[in-house]
């Protein structure tokens, strides 16, 4: 049913659940949608099914189980929850176009909270399109949603918190043939150390302690770990069969059945880009972030961005950001006094900051290597249209001004993923070739539909538009 909502929240991860619950509890008419059939987003994926599963809970750990009370709160809040629902477009007047079960509808929203979270940074290495090569996040999703764990020889290659967390979860789950290739660049350590004292403040020490515990656990378990790995190449014809890498100046190679790659996460910017929100390149996280005020309001009226979609902050700070956006909206709706808004904002902002204490240290320590950001010529950058880095550099050499003209000339970003997996790399390569900043280089202009909708569904949507021009 169509309707006019005080707020439409997109995404049911921690930011979306907190935003929607706070809005509905405050009396706002709230719709929250997610493309998955279950609430939780990726971090709390399948939390409602798994909360009573002790075996899985033990593997996934206490931080995962924090999602259960939040999901419970969302369910009790009175927010209308629509799952398995794709948001494929948001009009300038905040008409939110959705698709569920092959039918299309438009909801009018006085406010929109984009809580679409993060995606993993693309890891373009030779062979990354082979079956059997997945992101570490993908492997963890299989564990959370289906209790699946790789069998056979598993190689995890990457760096950052999720790399260690999932490695540890594999050990807990009984993966025996596991090799870790840690790609963190030790040269970042001196730059990171000055950030360490601040990282120990607030809640920061908990994150560091967790990391130290994961590493200790992996050591205890006797997992083979290569440090300072670079130059990863995946080999195989129909399926990944081996991995080659550089380590301590020499080369290594391993036979394997499954490879997990991970070089951190970045904001999922498709929706904010499609709305024309202003984005800024954040060098500390090597990614674009939508520009926001303290409440999470983007450069577009009524469009809020909360959680990792606005910049990587992690699950708990994301929930605080969701609440903060909801407080701003409730106040604008006349449902929350200014005093109450300020009082609750102060507490939420304080708690959010505490969770961010260790973030600069972690970001610095796990800055991805150049070879991830600006891969070698032969590496395929656009998986959908099979465009290699060499072709992008060649265009840049011909004076082609940037990512959008490259998209026009090479089809990179024109495939079904619509540039999600090549956009960050294309910008990086052009910026490097031209000597411009990523901000000056810019990013693909993102067009709707953001998710698949068919010609027939679009044809039928004419009746949904009513008096819309």
């Amino acid at each position: 049913m169509n309707g006019r909502w005080d707020a439409v929240v997109i995404g049911t991860g921690p930011a979306g659940m907190a935003a929607a619950a706070t809005l509905a509890e405050g009396g706002a008419r709230t719709l929250v949608v997610d493309e998955q059939p279950e609430v939780g987003g990726q971090i709390y994926r399948a939390i409602e099914r798994n909360r009573g599963n002790d075996a899985l809970g033990r593997i996934l750990g206490a931080d995962y189980l924090r999602g259960a009370p939040l999901a419970g709160r969302l369910r009790a809040s009175g927010a209308e929850i629509r799952l398995a629902t794709l948001v494929w477009r948001i009009d300038e007047d905040r008409g939110v176009w959705m698709r569920r079960d092959g039918s299309v509808e438009r909801a009018e929203a006085r406010n929109v909270v984009i809580a679409t979270g993060a995606m993993e940074r693309p890891v373009p290495v030779p062979g990354w399109t082979l079956p059997g090569v997945m992101t570490i996040g993908a492997l963890q999703i299989l564990l959370k949603s289906s209790g699946l764990i790789p069998s056979g020889r598993l190689v995890l290659a990457g760096s950052g918190p999720l790399f260690y967390l999932f490695s540890r979860q594999c050990v807990e789950a009984g993966v025996s043939e596991l090799t870790l290739l840690d790609t963190a660049d030790g040269r970042h350590l001196p730059g990171a150390l000055p950030l360490l004292p601040k990282a120990l403040t607030g809640q920061g020490w908990r994150y560091l302690l967790k990391g130290a515990g994961l590493l200790a656990g992996l050591r205890r378990a006797g997992v083979t770990l290569y440090r300072g790995v670079s130059g990863i190449t995946l080999e195989g014809s129909e399926h990944v069969a081996g991995i080659r890498f550089t380590h301590r100046g020499g080369t290594g190679s391993l036979a394997c059945d499954t490879v997990g790659l991970h070089e951190g996460v970045i904001p999922h910017q498709q929706m904010t880009r499609s709305l024309g929100c202003v984005h800024d390149y954040e060098p500390a996280q090597q990614s674009f972030h939508p520009r926001r005020d303290a409440w999470g309001l983007s450069s577009r009226p009524g469009i809020f961005v909360a959680g990792d979609a606005g910049g990587i902050v992690g699950a708990q700070a994301s929930a605080h950001e969701g609440t903060i956006a909801a407080l701003a909206i409730l106040h604008a709706l006349g449902r929350l006094s200014q005093e109450e808004r300020e009082r609750r904002f102060a507490a939420e902002a304080r708690a959010r900051r505490a969770h961010l204490a260790a973030r600069p240290f972690i970001d610095r320590l796990y800055t991805p290597r150049d070879e991830v950001l600006v891969p070698a010529d032969a590496t395929m950058i656009c998986r959908c249209e099979t465009v290699a880095a060499r072709e992008l550099r060649r265009l840049a050499g011909h004076g082609v001004p940037g990512p959008n003209q490259a998209k026009a000339f090479l089809r990179c970003g024109m495939g079904p993923c619509q540039g999600r997996l090549c956009g960050p790399t294309v910008t990086s390569i052009f910026a490097r070739e031209t000597g411009d900043t990523p901000d000056a280089t810019g990013y693909y202009r993102i067009r709707s539909p953001l998710k698949p909708v068919t010609v027939g569904e679009l044809a039928g949507s004419g009746k949904e538009t009513g008096s819309h021009p």
Binding site: R89, D91, E92, W97, R106, H398, G399, V400, P401, G402, P403, N404, Q405, A408, F409, R411, M414, G415, P416, Q418, T441, G442, R445, R447, S448, P449, P452, V453, T454, V455, G456, L458, A459, G460, S461, G462, E464, T465, H468, P469
Partner: protein
């Protein structure tokens, strides 16, 4: 390059400017092509890619002749461009079909064919009834009553075409400067100077092919290009295996397999946005033509701006106050590309306009002005 003096400066790196630059460069001129940055109003990016000749210029014989000349030049042009650059621009000439959904529409096509014959147009236009259509295109929907067909209609990838022209220009020794949007033009010591974001560029001759930007630039050299934007939206689908071998007036399948569904005509100022109501209308029409298209995923809605003159026909002129300064604009940058490249570009390199375009001066809009 900033510093050097070129034979010809071309202001505008769209299809018109790039075609003129390529053609002038092949004719021996040292050409500098000035383009804007990565985000600009680029009609080529939203272009449907039709080289559509049936019905073009009906009632305007000079325009019809120029368009048909372009149509007949396409084969030579495409071969030369592909040969020089190695870029497959996706040019194919399967012939074009305009589908009709009523007897009135068929009558309209019949009149177009008759008028074209009366005007002496060098183009064959056939009228197919439903049975004729089903013989060749059995996939059409039940509402299609017939079509008009011309073997001269063809299609091309406007994006690869633009790329090939720019790379071909460079391969021949010409200069392509992006990020060189032009702020001002002036004449100085017998030369033309374009003040660009990358510094001044000097040339003995200049052609303004700056699309919508030409309206402000042209008067600086005594030219007049009264153009306004008209928005066209198109719908782009995922790749589909070869399904529709002809070119359709509102639906075509690209060399890669994507369907393009278009195209709207809207007054929307300089907004390049899209709206679902328009996309829905375009899609409904496409499904009427080919019901099977209903299941295909859409990957992009696209809005771009056509460059419209008051009467919809091109403007080509040389400045009377500043000889050697030329202007060129039209909304058929693809169809006319071959003529711009093979006829107009070389002529401008020689400092003249071709006879074929003599009637397209902008002073046709100032009749009885005072």
């Amino acid at each position: 390059m900033p510093g050097a003096t070129h034979d010809l400066i071309v202001v505008g790196g769209g299809l018109i400017g790039s075609a003129i630059a390529w053609g002038a460069g092949r004719a021996g001129a040292d050409v500098a092509l000035l383009d804007e940055g990565d985000v600009a109003h680029r009609a080529a990016r939203g272009n449907f890619g039709l080289i559509w000749l049936q019905g073009k210029g009906v009632g305007a014989p000079a325009y019809m002749r120029w368009s048909l000349q372009a149509g007949h030049l396409w084969e030579t042009f495409a071969a030369a461009l592909v040969d020089e650059t190695g870029i497959d621009i996706g040019w194919r000439r399967p012939g074009g079909l305009q589908f009709c959904f009523s007897d009135e529409e068929m009558d309209g096509r019949r009149r177009v064919a008759e008028q074209t014959r009366t005007d002496g147009g060098d183009i064959a236009i056939e009228l197919w009834d439903r049975a004729d259509v089903l013989d060749r295109v059995p996939e059409v929907g039940p509402e299609v009553v017939g079509a008009s067909y011309s073997p001269l209609d063809s299609h091309v990838s406007p994006l690869y075409l633009l790329r090939a022209l720019q790379e071909g220009l460079q391969a021949g020794g010409g200069t392509y400067l992006s990020g060189a949007g032009v702020a001002a033009l002036r004449a100085e010591a017998g030369l033309f100077v374009a003040e660009t974001a990358r510094g001044p560029v000097r040339g003995r001759r200049i052609v303004i092919a700056a699309g919508l930007g030409a309206a402000d630039l042209a008067p600086q050299l005594g030219l007049s290009i009264p153009v306004r934007p008209e928005r066209g939206q198109i719908v782009v689908t995922e790749r589909v295996k070869p399904f529709f071998a002809y070119v359709g007036s509102g639906v075509r399948q690209t060399a890669e397999g994507s369907f393009l569904i278009g195209s709207s005509h809207e007054e929307a100022g300089f907004s390049e946005g899209t709206d679902v109501a328009t996309a829905a209308r375009l899609c409904a029409s496409a499904v009427r033509t080919f019901p099977r298209l209903a299941e295909v995923n859409v990957v992009r809605l696209w809005g771009s701006l056509r460059v419209m003159t008051p009467d919809g026909k091109p403007i080509y002129e040389e400045s009377q106050t500043h000889p050697g300064a030329f202007a060129a604009t039209c909304h058929s940058g693809v169809t006319l590309c071959s003529a711009h490249a093979l006829v107009l570009g070389p002529a401008i390199a020689d400092g003249v306009l071709p006879e074929a375009v003599a009637s397209f001066r902008s002073d046709r809009f100032h009749v009885q002005a005072h």
